[in-house]
Symmetry: C2
Subunit: 217 residues, 2 copies
């Protein structure tokens, strides 16, 4: 199969599953360091997973985001709210237009290397609070990328219509080692088990009927 894609790889469950699922089409994986509490631990997982699969991995620094953007995700573990994603206080963790920025940079990388697609692992459960994860955002961003490049680069977001539980099931079939993924927004050595992303992670394993390999605090 032709290697025609760049993937945006955070190092969390979703993008790591997509990395394994589409490994034969992925020429390059890109992680972004934007000063979030959990960035370093996530990126270490991303690097390890790319090493396992023999996929080139680069890290792009976006340090201006922690300097100029407003989000509790950029403000230290103490400011991260606990509870479900759907709760309105989780809105404070939104980093304005983060996916737009990551897709744009990945689009430029794709065009620089003659690749056709940017893969992103946004999924159904993300939509409630994150406007830049919704299907309509992905479609219009893909159209902007197509118009704005010579080669007509597009977004491939295969998980848009499925849930994190579906993703966990897919990953289990593919043999993904989820102990080498990191989600927690607090960014400490072990997952807190209480923030929105930890709650979602736990529920995905439980609802998929899988053992959760995560060490929680």
């Amino acid at each position: 199969m032709e290697k025609d894609s760049v993937i945006i790889l955070s190092g969390g469950m979703d993008s790591v599953t997509l990395l394994h699922y589409r490994r034969e089409r992925i020429a390059l994986a890109v992680s972004f360091y934007y000063g979030a509490n959990h960035n370093e631990r996530e990126i270490e997982c991303a690097r390890e997973q790319c090493g396992i699969l023999g996929i080139e991995h680069i890290v792009i620094p976006l340090s201006f985001m922690s300097q100029y953007f407003s989000s509790s995700l950029l403000s230290g573990a103490e400011s991260i709210p606990e509870g479900h994603y759907e709760d309105s206080n989780m809105k404070s963790t939104v980093v304005p237009f983060r996916n737009g920025i990551m897709l744009s940079v990945a689009c430029g990388l794709a065009e620089s290397r003659g690749l056709k697609h940017v893969m992103m692992a946004n999924h159904g459960g993300d939509h409630a609070i994150y406007p830049d994860c919704r299907a309509e955002f992905v479609a219009s961003m893909s159209e902007a990328m197509r118009c704005g490049t010579y080669d007509g680069v597009t977004v491939s977001a295969e998980f848009t219509g499925i849930t994190k539980t579906d993703i966990a099931r897919l990953g289990a079939r593919l043999g993904v080692d989820y102990s080498k993924t990191y989600s927690c927004y607090k960014g400490r050595a072990r997952h807190c088990g209480k923030c929105g992303t930890c709650v979602e992670r736990k529920e995905a394993f439980r609802d998929a009927g899988l053992e959760d390999p995560t060490e929680y605090e």
Copy 2:
């Protein structure tokens, strides 16, 4: 008038004219340092123009572009082709999806500060070789930004339908000091007068019937 906009300000003729034209609506001007030959001289002009108008100005570093992106604009003065923009060799100066990246970052800044619009000074003459200056790109990017933000941030690109000659006429009416703008892709102390952007600059002053205040080599 309400200050509801961020402007992408390179420090060239076009964006400086837009800065003066819409100064009452602009809360923040943002320049991007991406390692192009002419970035430092451009940004110095951007800073000076914002100082004249009392508008806040920030510079966002995008240093990964010179590391990972392919473009003669990022490769030193010697690699810049000479002649008109329309000529196919000018394509080498395209920085892949640059306007998409700058619009995305400016969109995140706008949402972080409660601003509604991102102003960009792309114009009619740009379209021939730059896909990310065309009206269809601007429209789809604006739609992606609207979908991907809580406040529905949009792009305002008022010069899309006019030429650089029209822009020069507008600037002259507004009293813009074009000696404090920089265009040359070679990035040396004086404009080379021969690269695509210098040729276009000269022609704009000539066709507008204005004196060209630029010192050429």
